[in-house]
Symmetry: C2
Subunit: 336 residues, 2 copies
Amino acid sequence: MNRAYTVIGNGSFATALTKVLCDSNHEVTWWMRSEVAKNYLVTHQHNPHYLSQVRFDNPRLTYTNDICAAIKQGDVILFAVPSAFITQILALIPQDLLAGKKILSSIKGIVPQDNLLLNEYLHREYSINDDHYCCITGPCHAEEVAAEKLSYLTFSSSNQSLAQDIAEDFANSYLRTLVSQDVYGVQYAAILKNIYALGAGIAHGLDYGDNFLSVYNTNCFNELENFMTAVADHNQQLNTPHHYNSGPYLGDLLVTAYSLHSRNRRFGNMIGKGYSVPAAKLELNMVAEGYYASKCIHEINSIVKAPTPILDELYNILWENKSANIAFQNISSLLH
Amino acid sequence: MNRAYTVIGNGSFATALTKVLCDSNHEVTWWMRSEVAKNYLVTHQHNPHYLSQVRFDNPRLTYTNDICAAIKQGDVILFAVPSAFITQILALIPQDLLAGKKILSSIKGIVPQDNLLLNEYLHREYSINDDHYCCITGPCHAEEVAAEKLSYLTFSSSNQSLAQDIAEDFANSYLRTLVSQDVYGVQYAAILKNIYALGAGIAHGLDYGDNFLSVYNTNCFNELENFMTAVADHNQQLNTPHHYNSGPYLGDLLVTAYSLHSRNRRFGNMIGKGYSVPAAKLELNMVAEGYYASKCIHEINSIVKAPTPILDELYNILWENKSANIAFQNISSLLH
């Protein structure tokens, strides 16, 4: 079957994934909120704000800023927007339009207020079952996909044939695609890694070096495993196969923690240098996913109760005004 | 007890560890082969070739190029030389001088020809038992120790009280010390990480990007666990406690694989760029530990038989003249 895709969002990852779908000659409807942005793409065939070197001249690609028309066109609806905006965007879509659609998510965050993963939120609000849901996780800098550097994406769903089908649609010469059943675990790993990367930025800002960072990242991976295990227990997913020494867990942590360009790391670096959280927000004119995720995960962990001393101290710095210096002294005494 | 230390070697890690011992006010005898190097240190109080900003003005530090005198002075003899030179240096020491001494090693390689770890070699050649042997492993760039950036070292011995004593001697405000019983495992991990870092350099030279590298490193860690497990089985060390998500295993791999400055990575990068192995050796005027280690580990693995497809392909590139391009195509198809 030649599935038609609808892409929701025009940030860097949305742009990269649209390129991939075009390269494998799928029918793609690309929705973006802004009419100006849409018209620019129609005229110039590239996204001026993200990955602007990627040329979109595929005749099977259409642009729209009518979200209902976009949803109707697609068999698979790919949500590729920051988690902070997802509820606003979903609110634009009449419930019955999503019935029967396959949902694909590349969102690396938690639905705000509700502390839910997107599949949990869609189930509660739209009665969409997990067997219609698949998520995409990295490790993946969108810039390297744009440059066609070999990358790996994992497609996770409780419905393995759905995951397999979509994975095949995305696979090409520069993109290897893997499948997983651990739909909760990979999404939590993608969220946690942003918090840990923000912490790596704080450590860098505090003038810790590469020796420390390697031990910090190692212990973050350890803690991530603890959290995954506690979540799987809590969701009674004990039989979900997972192998944490693989791309969507350790790999995603590494590509983010060692990236000097990530927002999370830059935000953290400012905190480590002594900026207050409000000052860092103002200065950077953006908010890192890891900042909000820290609060959501803290609240979720009050239920699942994983031992996460690093996350706890990062939460204390970001939300309880604790001195980053003292918090990292505490963290450093725990590492091994 | 205030232990007297003898340091053998004057490379960067020897220099860093001598600084640490001086900072905690131990009696240290520092041996180096070259009389010129010794006289320079006596006169100028710093090592001109490595970590030259570190000043040695401790009255309890003495320099010598008489190895017998050096060994006699120390309760603990720290060998901190490249593995390629260890047998030549040991040959300078009469066997009876080492009797009763505690041996400390920071050597990150295998004794050439014999494919033995230093403790195995010392046992066979000098009847030194493992309970007199302790090894130091990172993750640790010597430059960051010199700069007093917080770092972690692990001291491993089958004799836990020896490991504990020596670990306490090295601990200070910028150096956290941990102990381990896994004396074989930590040494193999320190060796393997050089090979994998050399491979990361090859991948970089072949123009693979950060997305690939994160998945490559993740799978290297996975393979390292396989090798450790097979070695522990083979040595019937099944009850040795180990926790691979910690500094001397994953941490050491990360600090090396992500270091742009390591010899192994530079050597690999040239191979990836198309240099032959002999041309890369000539151009760099040095040989990376990972190059020889690749051969030793290949031979050891013909006995312990761990599944190590990445190591196998790196061996093929370095020793069997296989195309790096083809070998990495094979590696990339195996990663997950």
